[in-house]
């Protein structure tokens, strides 16, 4: 089960992440070149980069970072705690993380439903860019993060200090 979750999150994050990264790189560059050379711009670049690529790219990789143990923490004191205290500290991380991420899922789901109902959009010049769909990235990404937290919990993390290169 753990391996399936790992593979699913890895492939999903890599597939969508690579697509968003390449699209963002190309659109930003083409827009900059068009502006510098022809004084023209691709329509709605700022709105699309901000709401589509950046929102996707910001939240989607969080579950992968959880699986790979890459969320930033400070292990200086933790590594020096006795076994019992260290376990208690790991459980504190786990409970708080599940609680906070659960709250974000709840709130972002409510927001996504609200934005979908009103058909939220961003205005670019005279055109309207629908962005309600982008609000769904949050509950989906944070649910993936919650799944990653449950299957790859802080209670099983490595106690070593160090850096992954």
């Amino acid at each position: 089960m753990r391996r399936s979750i790992d593979t699913l999150i890895l492939n999903l994050t890599f597939g969508i992440g690579a697509l968003l990264l390449v699209l963002m790189m190309v659109q930003i560059s083409v827009n900059a070149v068009l502006r510098a050379v022809f004084g023209a711009q691709l329509p709605a670049t700022v709105e699309i980069v901000s709401n589509y690529y950046m929102v996707g790219f910001s939240f989607l990789p969080m579950a992968l970072a959880q699986i790979k143990g890459r969320h930033i923490d400070a292990s200086f004191l933790h590594a020096r705690l006795g076994n019992g205290l260290r376990t208690a500290a790991n459980w504190l991380s786990q409970i708080l993380s599940v609680g906070v991420v659960g709250l974000i899922i709840y709130q972002s789901y409510i927001d996504a439903v609200k934005k979908t109902k009103i058909g939220a959009y961003a205005v670019s010049g005279t055109s309207e860019i629908p962005i309600w769909i982008c609000y769904w990235v949050l509950p989906i990404s944070f649910t993936l993060l919650l799944i990653a937290m449950l299957f790859f919990p802080f209670t099983q993390r490595s106690d070593e200090e160090g850096v992954q290169v």
């Binding site: 930003i28 950046m54 609680g99 906070v100 972002s108 982008c134 850096v163």
Partner: protein, 426 residues
Amino acid sequence: MSANVIGFSGLIFLFFLIAMRVPIAISLLSVSFAGITLAFNMNVALGVLSTVPYTFAASWTLSSVPMFLFMGFLAFHTGLTQGLFRAARAWVGALPGGVAIASVLGAGGFSAVTGSSIACAAAMGRIAIPEMRKSGYDDGIATGTLAAAGTIGALIPPSIVLILFGIQAQVSILKLFLYGFYIGVATLVIYSTVIIGLALLRPHLLPRGPVVPLSERFRALVDVWPLLLLVVGIFGGLLTGVFTATEAGGVGALLTALIGFARRTLSYEAFRSSVMDTLLGAGSLFFVAIGANAFTRFVALTGLTNAMNDWIIALAPSAFVLLLLIIVFYLIIGMFLEPVGAMLLTLPLLLPIVHSAGIDTIFFGILVAKLLEMGMITPPVGLNVFVIQSVSDNVPLEKIFRGVTWFLCADLVLVIVMVFLRNFGT
């Protein structure tokens, strides 16, 4: 309970959670949510959770972070940075401590395509440490040099720390890049001076290399011309106003990919590794940044900023004393936390104080980046030292920390000079 008491209690609880190794993002979000709920009610706290993540992420300026990360990883995985050390060694290898100076210069070159000091230390360490050992260098000096040289990665643009500072403090990223470049080059110069001094005092620890013929020196440059082209392309475009600091990341990543494609080094494996490294980097950075934004709201809503302002003004009557306190504070916090986490954690508290003391924000940003990078090589948690240990066949940590001491002293001198030359951003 008054809002101020909640603010201070939240701050203490935040440091407790971080010390207990609760992820920094979760610590910031938990304290902010609980604090705002206590000070107001749960609806206000849920409102913060509702607005902060999306508003933070849906940002045009922030797009430069994944783009510059991608550019750096692409440059590394397509081998664009491989010839840097060899070229630098061909030119300066014959100087006293020449191989060590070459690794510092190599790190300086690598810094121009990466915004991370860990990546810089790891990449240059893998190449330069074995070469320094072959040349008879002392292990402590070789590893210490590379650990310190890595810190230049977060000063010379593009710098992820400086971009995030610019977004958080709402100041020009181009200006931060410009002054980051000056301090990065100054660091490079003082590190090279330290090496020459050490080599003159203790030549047996840093033996001089052979003089390389001029033809071979130019041949070594052939390997690095694509990197030079990339750096000139990006910074030329930036400084001439062809594109903005935000766009420079996208253009730089595309240029790197095109150069890799032209040199036939952009394999699927290189692309996959670059995307994965970028995803992991962004995934961890943005989570902390979202937590820091929520914490900013908590600090403002509980009035903690004003209370701390009064307290700090009473403690530090002048901007100079305040700066000294800030330096000591960041040197201490840098000993325990990694730079982005430490910066995002502390800016909500310190930025308003720095503003009201009339300290130039650009200067403050560069100072914070420099101090936190010094924290990357100070015990007990010196991430660059850990990285260098892992790429150097496990040279004892104590030995690396000892090797770093000279560079830390030089850094302190530079920080003092910076304080006397402050106001350079205005």
